[in-house]
């Protein structure tokens, strides 16, 4: 027995356990016709989420309860990756032990819908389409497949360059003067000479966040619209060339994982951190001493006047199908996703940047932010959202990401970007049986 690998045992124990648990949980009676729970029957929804999203969901339920006193929610605060592990195992076990509502990051939605068809509630059938225009185009495309919605759009991550004003000032560099990546590299060299601060933190060998932001900005991604592998696209090569140029000029701080990025942000060893709007929360939390020293500008363009909008991160809510409370869950999450007050609260209290566009007109989004020296940063991000190109993730996104990170490693270890990408395209074709464009 002991010869069976530890991992496979774990996987299968989880499967067995979830089957047992679902058998125990299956006897709660409920009648599904009770849409939205406006009647007398009590409904308790369960949800899986992580981090600040848990608070946002609980707050929304408190607001929802005023009109729907019989509905309540139990949010299980599970770590991000644990949610996926549990969700994947539950789906693999045919839907056993799953909650009514689950938080999924945007880049994983297509993977789940593709790999587990029929396992999520088709929101278009429930009438979500008439609300869809409240959201920006890229978010709508991510949440739907074959023009049917499978996820309620929630937060987004319009990108920006978070920068240290004091470091820029010390080096005599004006953020306004940076229009293109070449401008940025020139400015970064000055900053490095005068202050010793690196330009950007990059987890060279384990993550490719900057690369993904650049790809999205250029309107390309790992796959094209038809699901073909796009690694050989000249624009993809251009993005990786730019990162390599920064590395060669000694402007990239090699950080280890998320903690490394955060500590580089806090200790001032980097002058800029390109990330999604949600990085605001990390900065104000972790770098309290730097109050007033920060600013934001949009990602530099690749050519003068080119697109500077991109997105990194963001998540949406999905409803696993087969739940006893499908309709009640639908009604609640629709309220959550499309109500200004709820989204405003999620932003104000939990730092989750909404993709619901009607919120951008509210005061919260137009006023200045003290931590950022009074700069109205939310207006900058809000204005950016409508210009964000759609990335195409496909169900093989995870494999493509794996190959992209390897490509970046190879480039930092000396390989030429075009060659590394070509090799990656071939490996990816081999692993996914997809065509290389």
């Amino acid at each position: 027995m002991m010869n069976v690998s530890k991992m496979s045992k774990t996987v299968l124990l989880l499967l067995a356990a979830s089957a047992v648990l679902s058998a125990c949980g299956g006897n709660k009676s409920s009648n599904g016709a009770n849409a939205g729970g406006g009647k007398d029957e009590n409904v308790e929804l369960t949800a899986w989420a992580w981090n600040v999203n848990v608070g946002a969901l609980n707050d929304a339920m408190d607001m929802y309860k005023k009109d729907h006193p019989n509905v309540s929610i139990k949010v299980e605060d599970i770590g991000r990756l644990d949610v996926y592990d549990k969700l994947s195992t539950g789906l693999a076990a045919g839907g056993a032990g799953l909650p009514d509502i689950v938080l999924v990051e945007d880049d994983r939605i297509q993977g789940y819908v593709d790999a587990f068809p029929d396992s999520f509630v088709n929101l278009s059938d429930k009438g979500f389409d008439k609300k869809a225009d409240l959201f920006p185009p890229f978010k709508k495309e991510l949440a739907s497949k074959d023009s049917k919605f499978y996820a309620f759009p929630f937060d987004a991550g319009p990108t920006g360059m978070f920068y240290r004003k004091d470091i820029f000032d010390k080096a005599g560099v004006k953020a306004d003067s940076i229009q293109t990546w070449d401008d940025f590299i020139a400015a970064a060299k000055t900053i490095k000479d005068k202050t010793g601060a690196f330009a950007v933190p990059v987890d060279k060998f384990k993550d490719d966040a900057l690369f993904r932001m650049m790809l999205n900005e250029l309107g390309v991604y790992y796959f094209d619209k038809d699901g073909k592998i796009d690694f050989n696209n000249p624009k993809v090569v251009q993005a990786l060339d730019k990162i390599k140029a920064m590395g060669d000029a000694g402007l990239v701080k090699d950080v280890n994982g998320w903690d490394g990025t955060v500590s580089a942000t806090v200790d001032g060893s980097v002058a800029t951190v390109p990330f999604g709007a949600w990085y605001y929360g990390t900065i104000i939390d972790q770098a309290k001493d730097t109050n007033g020293k920060w600013g934001v500008f949009q990602l530099p363009a690749f050519e003068k006047g080119g697109n500077r909008a991109a997105n990194l991160g963001g998540s949406s809510w999905m409803l696993p199908s087969g739940s006893k409370h499908e309709d009640a869950a639908y009604a609640f999450v629709e309220y959550f996703a499309t109500t200004d007050a709820v989204q405003q609260n999620a932003m104000e209290k939990h730092g989750l940047f909404p993709s619901l566009q009607s919120v951008y007109k509210t005061d919260l989004f137009t006023k200045g932010v003290d931590f950022f020296g009074g700069q109205p940063i939310w207006k900058l991000f809000g204005d950016e959202v409508k210009d964000i190109p759609t990335p195409y993730y496909t169900k093989d996104y995870a494999v493509a990401l794996d190959e992209a990170v390897k490509t970046q490693s190879d480039v930092f270890n000396g390989k030429k970007p075009a060659d590394a990408l070509k090799a990656a395209a071939d490996r990816l074709a081999d692993r996914t049986k997809r065509e290389v464009k």
């Binding site: 027995m1 002991m2 010869n3 069976v4 690998s5 530890k6 991992m7 496979s8 045992k9 996987v11 299968l12 124990l13 499967l15 067995a16 047992v20 996926y84 592990d85 994947s88 789906l91 693999a92 045919g94 839907g95 993977g111 790999a115 587990f116 068809p117 029929d118 396992s119 060279k204 060998f205 384990k206 090699d254 280890n256 994982g257 490394g260 995870a398 494999v399 794996d402 990170v405 390897k406 490693s409 190879d410 930092f412 270890n413 490996r427 081999d430 692993r431």
Partner: protein, 283 residues
Amino acid sequence: MRTKGYVPYLFLAPALGLFAVFMAYPIIYSFLLSFQTGAGKHMSFTGLSNYHRLFSDELFWTALKNTFAIMVIQVPLMLFLAILLAAGLNSVKHLTGLFRVSFFMPAVTSLVAYSIIFSLMLMGDGIINQFLTAVGAGAVPWLSNPIWAKAALILAMTWRWTGYNMVIYLAAMQNISESLYEAANIDGATRVRQFFSITIPQLKPVILFTAILSTIGTLQLFDEPYTLTKGGPSDATLTIGMYLYQTGFRFYDFGYASTLAYVIVVLIAVLSFIQFKVTGDEE
């Protein structure tokens, strides 16, 4: 008084029930899964296609090569160190408890704590590189160079498991009869000679035992690459265990992941068999 034949089985029933659900079922189910492809409700039997896929799967071969490279260097190195340490500690007269605990400590340290400390120590401007630069040796790209990343894993694993094996050897050494050494002393054998002619031969079954345990452990290697290198850079530290995990949980291919699990089972069985044969223990 005679007991009915089935009575013992009644007493065994709870244990057998648990065994069936938590041991037998997963093993059988994963075996069946290894012949299927698809996901969720859409699994279908495709015969040996998963096993076929192995042969043309570059990543599998990379993972296999990495795992063996680590095993071939790490296991002998660690066992040798463990024997040396055990021999040393066996003759120490004072503070024995303190030494034993210190060497055994890594084996009981929480994995998370240990991997965070190691990644802090090994990173670009970590303490190890600071030290190396200070003595003029130059910084080593521990986690970013394909070869050094393997070395970093070997280092971490050796730190963690040497003490564990040492304790096993120490226990075995204390069972070696004093009279053998007394006789050797009278014959005028040196300490070194005694070590190779008495200690090592007496330890043989224990060495076999630890070698097999370590082989199994290395073939299942997952924790260290997962926390220290994520299998990188560029798959240089991708082990079969890592690849199995990625296939199942990142790429949702549970069928192929089960196939990989059974490949590990076969490898372990074959290697253990060879080790028994080579050391020539017939019992």
